[in-house]
């Protein structure tokens, strides 16, 4: 009993200290520039808080194994004087708690965050303000077109693909692996993954299928300032995979319309 009380007290203290540490480091996604990234961050924080006491429990047990329950140097004796085959209360609590914790984590944040995410995408689809960006992935480049503005291939001053999004406006990404510049070769392309680290998600681009992904950018940023703002292929797609990234920007509405005008001029001149 003495050991159990001692363990319980230390466990509570250790858990509290560790929870405080988690509170300090909780912003583990580094850059969260969309509502979706913030939601993911919240889910991660919540899980972090829940698993920390479990971590503390097992680690403290291991520490007890190393200190409290170790065989002393001069102890040449045989078996431990404490022998028991089971302990109904301990087993019952263990199984009960692990069931409850897992079911609870499934309800929140797993199912709740997914439901939230689906509701957001339904809401964005209805929004008259929705910006549609067609994203084409092929070995080994990203191409962006803005069908609402008649921009077929958005490029920066160097002629490379560039993704520019206005802040505070829902975006629908339409992800395909074929594009307007090439005839469609069924053998040509492979699976890619569209990832913007600052946006908190990624979605694979599957040859022959169309995928949709939604975001609501809430922070301004650009690749030049923060590399978490970049479009990166996250699924291995051959030797060019590490080079399959483009720059991107989240800009204000007025900057965005200026950029659109520039792209239009660029297209008409070519």
């Amino acid at each position: 009993m003495k050991d159990a009380v001692k363990f319980g007290v230390i466990w509570v203290i250790l858990s509290a200290i560790l929870e405080w540490c988690v509170y300090l480091v909780r912003h583990m996604f580094y850059t969260t520039a969309t509502i979706q990234a913030v939601d993911g961050q919240h889910a991660a924080d919540f899980i972090f808080y829940v698993v920390t006491p479990i971590f503390a429990f097992v680690v403290l047990m291991l520490i007890f194994g190393f200190t409290q329950f170790r065989r002393r140097r001069n102890d040449k004796g045989g078996n431990s004087p404490h022998q028991f085959r089971t302990n109904r209360a301990f087993v019952g609590i263990w199984i009960g708690v692990s069931l409850v914790v897992n079911l609870f984590l499934f309800v929140h944040p797993t199912a709740s965050a997914m439901e939230n995410y689906w509701n957001q995408s339904v809401e964005y689809q209805k929004s008259p303000n929705l910006l549609v960006v067609d994203v084409y992935a092929r070995q080994w480049q990203w191409m962006y077109s803005y069908p609402q503005y008649g921009i077929a291939n958005a490029v920066n001053s160097a002629g490379n693909g560039e993704l520019v999004l206005p802040v505070d406006r829902p975006v629908q990404f339409v992800l395909r692996s074929y594009d307007f510049n090439h005839y469609y070769d069924v053998e040509a392309d492979v699976i890619h993954s569209f990832w913007i680290p600052a946006f908190g998600w990624k979605t694979d681009v599957i040859p022959g299928e169309t995928r949709y992904e939604y975001a609501y950018p809430t922070e301004l940023g650009s690749t030049a300032e923060n590399q978490m703002f970049r479009v990166q292929c996250a699924e291995v797609c051959g030797p060019g995979h590490p080079y399959m990234y483009t720059g991107m920007k989240v800009v204000t509405a007025s900057q965005f319309s200026a950029w659109i005008q520039k792209q239009k001029k660029l297209q008409s001149s070519s």
Partner: protein, 615 residues
């Protein structure tokens, strides 16, 4: 009474006679070369397309079969298996001395050591590949490898050889073959001849994968993802074939271990008394029997897709079908790797703590339910790949599987409570393994959550997570097993000071390396990239330093274990006072482990003798 089957007819001639023939390994290599070339020529001759060279994908596939057959026959199965099967007198006789480890054998202890040594070879090859990867990642541009495809093929070789010849093999084919017959009180395994053949598939498979880049670098990583594989370098066919033969070996091991545990148990060894490690081997072998044929057939399909070629997994077919079929095996594979480790914790802790195993039945239930649930979680590897609407069920089972996995922790912790833990190398390693696997498991809870997974998937966070489960769980436990069973294998004892030096070394280096993988992933480091944004350079540089320390740490432990095996101090037969049957034999065990088959009258984990029991 010996129950060794009479595999050889003693012709009465002196044993030395047989050494007139070529050394089996050399003969195997020679026959492999002959088989390879002959079959290649035949196929190239039968299929003389104007565009076909003498070595084309089809002829190289068949040539490989010829090579493996030549290797297997040359290593000794020609005299011992094939000729007797056609009615010729058996001239083969089990060799004695060191030579027996380099040819076909039916002795489960010899086979076990052959598996361990082959697996160790794979560990060193794949570990070297990992070191080369870390060398490249010390800078953010290409500098060590000339082209990124050579980096990617190194990633593939590292993953493939580690998974299929080390993680799946060492504790099952190696320790399982050596220990399981002794643990259940039998002098042989059930299919000892088949087992003697299957062990030689392992070096064949390792070499096939390791030399595959000669045909052209493949960039898919260990998963052979389609449709990338269908347009990748031709070396991918030797990835399929190498893995195929490694899996064939594991499949035979599984059949052998299940049959041994089910049919070869000593009298009185009921299911309620079966040792925990044997339960672990049984669960793992069922997993192997269920899922290995599935992945072997998938690889045959992918191979045909490549060499015919077919469009099965391209956009006119379905790229996702391959991915689903791969992970349908791929996730049970993770538990194939970890279940032996969980079983080993429960095996060693009561012995070292001198305390009765706690809640044994829940430990067994945990192993069995992990086995059952592991087939229902595969698609969590595909969260960003599949449609969002299909994610939740897999998320559910992925979170639920932590419950039976947790039982292994419950049993181990409950046994440790109020024990008299002997803090020696095996028990320290077991506790380290529990610590590492705990981190691996808890980071898995983050990854099981789709909203979090969509950010962390395909980043170094995932790489950190599975290295914590596999190195942290399986490799640390394997080292625990090696230190624990060294006195059994060799009759010699390691020195606590030198062994613990190695153990703390790998623990610190491992955590310093892989804990930072989580941070790298969160900072935006994605997988399969030899070049990466410059802001990640400093941390990658420093992670590489720790990775090299870890590599040398493993090397130190391996060399030290081999040294003790050969030169260590002699020790009693049962230095840990363990009660399981393998410790009732002499150390090292004789060819025939049990002169008389033991009768089991009670379980092996009861330490209440001489102690007044508490309720």
């Amino acid at each position: 009474m010996s129950s060794i089957p009479q595999t050889g007819v003693d012709t009465g001639r002196p044993l030395t006679r047989r050494y007139k023939r070529m050394a089996p390994v050399l003969r195997g290599l020679l026959w492999a070369l002959i088989g390879y070339m002959v079959v290649d020529m035949i196929v190239a001759f039968l299929d003389p397309g104007p565009t076909h060279s003498l070595f084309n994908l089809v002829s190289l596939t068949f040539a490989w079969v010829g090579g493996v057959v030549g290797w297997t026959l040359g290593i000794g199965t020609w005299e011992s298996v094939v000729r007797p099967a056609f009615g010729y007198p058996m001239k083969w006789k089990e060799t004695v001395g060191w030579r027996r480890y380099f040819e076909y054998s039916t002795n489960h202890k010899v086979i076990g050591i052959q598996y361990m040594v082959s697996s160790l070879g794979g560990f060193i090859i794949a570990g070297t590949a990992a070191m080369l990867m870390r060398l490249q990642l010390m800078d953010d541009r290409m500098w060590f490898f000339p082209y990124s495809k050579y980096y990617l093929v190194t990633v593939g070789i590292h993953g493939t050889i580690m998974m299929f010849s080390v993680a799946t093999v060492f504790m099952v084919g190696g320790l399982g073959n050596y220990l399981i017959p002794m643990m259940v009180g039998s002098n042989t395994s059930a299919f000892s001849r088949l087992s003697g053949v299957s062990v030689w598939f392992v070096p064949a498979g390792i070499l096939t994968v390791a030399f595959s880049p000669l045909l052209g670098a493949w960039t898919t990583g260990w998963r052979g993802y389609e449709p990338l594989a269908s347009q990748d370098g031709s070396g991918i066919i030797y990835y399929y074939l190498g893995v195929f033969i490694l899996l064939m070996s594991s499949l035979i091991v599984a059949a052998n271990l299940v049959a041994t545990i089910v049919f070869r148990r000593a009298p009185g060894l009921t299911w309620n008394r079966l040792p925990m490690y044997a339960w672990g081997m049984l669960a793992v072998s069922f997993l192997n029997l269920i899922w290995i044929p599935e992945i072997m057939m998938t690889f045959v399909m992918a191979l045909l897709d490549k060499i015919v070629p077919l469009p099965m997994f391209q956009s006119t077919g379905s790229p996702l079908v391959y991915l689903q079929m791969f992970w349908l095996f791929g996730h049970p594979e993770v538990y194939i790797v970890v279940v032996p480790a969980l079983a080993l914790w429960m095996e060693i802790i009561p012995v070292m703590g001198r305390k009765t195993l706690f809640a044994r039945q829940w430990g067994v239930i945990g192993l069995v339910f992990v086995m059952l649930l592991s087939g229902m979680v595969w698609a969590h590897h595909l969260f960003p790949t599949q449609q969002n609407a299909t994610i939740l069920p897999f998320s559910f089972f992925t979170e639920m599987i932590s419950i039976p996995t947790g039982f292994a922790f419950m049993v181990s912790i409950g046994t440790m409570w109020k024990s008299k833990m002997r803090l020696n190398t095996p028990s320290i390693l077991i506790m380290m393994s529990m610590f590492n696997f705990l981190i691996g498991g808890l980071t898995g809870v983050f990854l099981a959550d789709p909203a979090v997974n969509m950010q962390l998937h395909d980043t170094f966070f995932v790489v950190g997570h599975f290295h914590y489960t596999i190195i942290g769980g399986m490799v640390f436990s394997s080292f625990a097993a090696m230190y624990y069973y060294l006195p059994k294998f060799s009759g010699r004892m390691y020195n606590e000071k030198w062994a613990q030096l190695g153990v703390y070394w790998i623990f610190l280096a491992f955590n310093a390396t892989f804990f930072q993988f989580f941070i790298l992933g969160l900072r935006g480091m994605n997988r399969w990239v030899p070049v990466y944004p410059a802001y990640l350079r400093a941390q990658n540089f420093e992670v590489s330093i720790f990775a090299f320390l870890l590599g040398f740490g493993f090397l130190y432990n391996i060399i030290y274990i081999i040294y003790v095996w050969r030169r260590g101090e002699k020790v009693d037969e049962n230095p840990w006072q363990s009660k399981t049957l393998e410790w009732t034999t002499s150390s090292p065990p004789a060819d025939i482990s049990f002169e008389e088959i033991p009768t089991v009258t009670e379980g092996f984990y009861d330490y209440s003798d001489g102690v007044s029991t508490e309720s």
